[in-house]
């Protein structure tokens, strides 16, 4: 029984298409890099209005999230992710994509449990663990040094 299972697993492993890791990495690098350059252009624009680079990064996030949500709605961003993998998903435009895509897909389940809940399918865990990690890291630093 067990050996049959093992044989089956071995067979599926052999037959599964190998993920083209080098190609995936290259595309993630290019697509992710390009999105960050777009972000830098947006940030540069805000800095031309007299903001410091630090002050400009918040409105830059707002604009990039808007772009990500719009392109997802139009159905274009899915192609960016399909192509660039994490190059499309890791930038903040991909975070917007991860909110809009499931919300759109489950629209038929209604405004509350469809759109309202599904917006946070991925964003929920990211916020929960991001907030928890930021708290723990800062609390440790506060205890050790007196400043966070």
């Amino acid at each position: 029984m067990d050996s049959e299972k093992e044989q089956y697993q071995q067979l599926t492993r052999q037959l599964m298409p190998k993920r083209p890791i080098a190609r995936n990495l290259m595309l993630a690098f290019l697509v992710g890099g390009l999105i960050c350059v777009v972000g830098q252009v947006v940030q540069w624009f805000f800095m031309q209005q007299g903001m410091s680079s630090k002050a400009a990064s918040s409105p830059t996030s707002v604009v990039m999230i808007g772009i990500g949500a719009l392109l997802t709605g139009l159905g274009w961003y899915d192609r960016v992710v399909k192509w660039g993998g994490m190059g499309g998903s890791l930038p903040i435009t991909g975070f917007a994509n991860a909110m809009v895509a499931p919300a759109m897909e489950f629209k038929t389940e209604g405004l509350i449990m469809g759109i309202g809940a599904r917006l946070f399918t991925i964003a929920g865990p990211v916020l929960v663990y991001g907030m928890a990690a930021a708290f723990v890291v800062s609390a440790i630093r506060y205890l050790l040094t007196g400043v966070a």
Partner: protein, 116 residues
């Protein structure tokens, strides 16, 4: 010059995330959570702040930048309000992004239909 570094550092962070996903066979959601936590850690030890100074949007646009932003915000809030800042600083700093994500996300989901 910042534009070149934004491309290189942003691209490298994304390639690293792709490598982790491919090698550890994780889902995209798991990788995003992992990287936001890593961003908070790197922010806490002061590494990510240097990366942001140097690569601009190349470090602040990828998701680890979100974890870093919260740690940074907590640091400022603690200076002003003491321990209470641990609770208020993170979301205050990230408020623009979170509010934009909810608002634009909701609008896009209401307006557009999924492409078959």
């Amino acid at each position: 010059m910042t534009f070149v570094w934004a491309f290189i550092i942003g691209g490298l962070l994304c390639a690293l995330a792709q490598l982790v996903m491919d090698l550890a066979q994780l889902t995209p959601g798991q990788v995003l959570v992992l990287f936001v936590v890593l961003g908070a850690l790197a922010g806490g030890v002061g590494v990510y702040g240097k990366l942001v100074q140097f690569a601009g949007a190349g470090a602040s646009v990828p998701l680890p930048g979100f974890g870093y932003t919260m740690v940074e915000g907590i640091g400022q809030a603690v200076q002003q309000k003491g321990a209470l800042g641990l609770f208020t600083g993170g979301l205050t700093a990230a408020a623009g992004g979170i509010k934009a994500a909810v608002l634009f996300g909701l609008t896009a989901a209401l307006i557009f239909r999924p492409k078959a």
